[in-house]
């Protein structure tokens, strides 16, 4: 354990301060082409008449690719985990979000590539977009996605992530007060200083060397191999140096399309998004809509929680079913509530597809549950620290998905927080530990929910 408590040099520290770190954009190969994209200018439209002839004929243009060039057009980021594919690499018959890529050009320089993009023609029959998850279930809402307006492929082809625990009806019957809240954190763009970028070099041995800014190298490798329908041994992916990602570089944004252009042109190609593209077209943290209704007692026990979550997935599923699943497991926050009824939907809208960002699916629910804890304290006229300590996870409590807690930290964290804020806790709370609830500390409503940590 020599490293614990020691000051260790960063393995890349000296490279960073001497300007020697080689990010993807810093890799130099001779003969490299630049890539620019034709993207959808509208949120939702039927598309026809895509014609790249003029662009292909322009001097300095070496390759143009469209949906017709992709061996496997649709592949899902979680296809390998059994979540079906829904997103075409390049739009074919319709566009579902503003900024969706339709065609790409590789040319001698960026100016030529941009001029060639302008020379591509395509017709859009614009449709009314759906931009608000709260309207997705209306009878007259526009249909966003080939599966409808929400994801329908959870286990057993369920159309939602659902959790039922204990008896929610009993909890609401026994409650003194019902405390309700609606929480709607907005989308956040990750804004890494390094925009999305890839450089793909076709090697003489038939392989492609892919320089990628990905946070998830093996995801990217699998996604590229699937779309191109090539075995993994035809791809050499070089990653590991990321100029900021924060979750936004989990999606495979550029590598596959550069690989297609490298194959078609026989030249190294680089696609580096502009800051404007990064803001308008890259995936964001999802906006979430969360409704909570808690059955509580006058003295601050939470007997039960009903919760509805609408996760804005944007136009395609990507990682959202996974994010919502994590969200559902955490929907009681750091607290133990024995009776639960949770329904969460991955809702499609005509926005950019959303993705991971620093605590995928969990920051949203933490924001909602912590705000709600304080709201409960406000409504009951109780101390917000004490409401938290009372309902805090203890050894032997169980999570919404019935994991038995063996090492919960809620009590110590809340006590540290109170200390940091110079809040004096009442004696019984100051003495509280994470030890299992028993004797006088075990309220009747929690008797049935305890698990045995030894079983875990």
């Amino acid at each position: 354990m020599k490293a614990v408590g020691a000051r260790l040099p960063r393995y890349d520290g000296i490279e960073h301060v001497t300007g020697r770190t080689t990010y993807v954009d810093d890799v130099r190969v001779p003969g490299m082409l630049w890539v620019k994209a034709l993207r959808s200018p509208v949120h939702s439209a039927a598309m026809s008449g895509l014609d790249t002839t003029k662009a292909e004929a322009m001097p300095g243009v070496h390759a143009v690719v469209t949906h017709a060039d992709v061996p496997l057009l649709e592949y899902g980021h979680l296809s390998a985990l059994g979540i079906p594919a829904d997103e075409p690499l390049l739009a074919k018959d319709e566009v579902r979000y503003k900024g969706q890529p339709i065609a790409l050009v590789a040319a001698e320089d960026e100016e030529t590539a941009l001029a060639a993009v302008d020379a591509i023609t395509v017709d859009f029959e614009e449709r009314t977009p759906l931009l608000d998850v709260r309207r997705a279930f209306d009878d007259d809402a526009p249909t966003v996605h080939q599966w409808g307006n929400w994801y329908t492929h959870f286990e057993g082809e369920m159309d939602r992530r659902q959790i039922r625990k204990g008896s929610i009806d009993d909890a609401f019957e026994q409650a003194d007060v019902i405390v309700q809240g609606v929480y709607r954190p907005a989308a956040i763009e990750h804004v890494p200083l390094e925009t999305q970028v890839a450089l793909v070099v076709p090697e003489a041995n038939g392989r492609l060397t892919i320089y990628s800014c990905t946070q998830a190298l093996y995801f990217s490798m699998g996604v590229v191999a699937a779309h191109l329908q090539v075995p993994l041994n035809k791809l050499k992916v070089v990653g590991g140096t990321v100029g900021g990602g924060f979750g936004g570089k989990v999606d495979t944004a550029t590598e596959t399309m550069c690989a297609l252009l490298a194959q078609k042109s026989g030249r190294p190609v680089k696609w580096r998004w502009t800051r404007e593209e990064e803001f308008l077209c890259s995936s964001t943290r999802a906006p979430w809509h969360m409704e909570i209704a808690d059955a509580v007692t006058k003295d601050g026990w939470i007997l039960g929680r009903k919760m509805l979550t609408l996760h804005d997935s944007g136009a395609y599923a990507r990682f959202s079913p996974y994010g919502l699943t994590k969200h559902s497991f955490h929907h009681t926050g750091a607290y133990t509530i024995p009776n639960l009824s949770f329904d969460g939907f991955v809702v499609f809208t005509n926005r950019v597809p959303t993705t991971a960002m620093r605590g995928f699916g969990v920051t949203s629910v933490s924001f909602a549950t912590e705000t709600h804890m304080s709201r409960i304290a406000d409504v009951l006229g109780l101390d917000p620290y004490e409401v938290r300590l009372k309902n805090a996870n203890r050894v032997g409590d169980t999570s919404p998905n019935r994991i038995v807690y063996t090492d919960p930290s809620t009590v110590s964290v809340v006590k540290a927080l109170a200390g940091g804020m110079d809040v004096e806790l009442a004696t019984e709370y100051a003495a509280m530990t994470r030890d299992p609830r028993e004797g006088d500390l075990l309220p009747a409503h929690l008797v049935g929910q305890l698990g045995n940590p030894e079983d875990h």
Binding site: I14, T21, G243, G244, T274, R275
Partner: protein, 170 residues
Amino acid sequence: MKLTVNGRPREIEGAPLTTLLHVLREELGVTSPKAGCEQGGCGACTVLVDGEPQRACLTPVGAIDGSEVTTVEGLGAPESLSALQQAFTHHYAAQCGFCTSGMLMAAEAYIARGGTDDREAIQEALAGHVCRCTGYVKIIDAVAAAARGDAFDLTVTAAGTAMTNLGGVS
């Protein structure tokens, strides 16, 4: 056109309206200035032009014909780190590293014009430099330390690997 880049005279072939950032990165192969936004908003491309920090992405190379340009490559190599580079290393001021070049150049100019370890003054000098890893506190710590002239026990081997303070000095 001519520039002196990190002490070395260079002939520039790019058209006068080509950005200094493009000339440095694509023509001269000097890659420490980064193309973070190419619209003057993030600071990652900042270099010194005749000692003054400038956004290379907004500087037409024709406007600075004959100037001296300094980038991070001109501050110090791994075996000869400048005081500021040592301070950044010691204080872990570089996280993903993408903003670091611009931060270093702005801080270098700040210290050269007599900047002190006053944190507000340092913030002012680094205003407009975005660190999206949000490591601002450590960056300001590093600049303040360099401004004070703090000495660091950074033992740098010939291979460029820092083996510093193993054993718990904070």
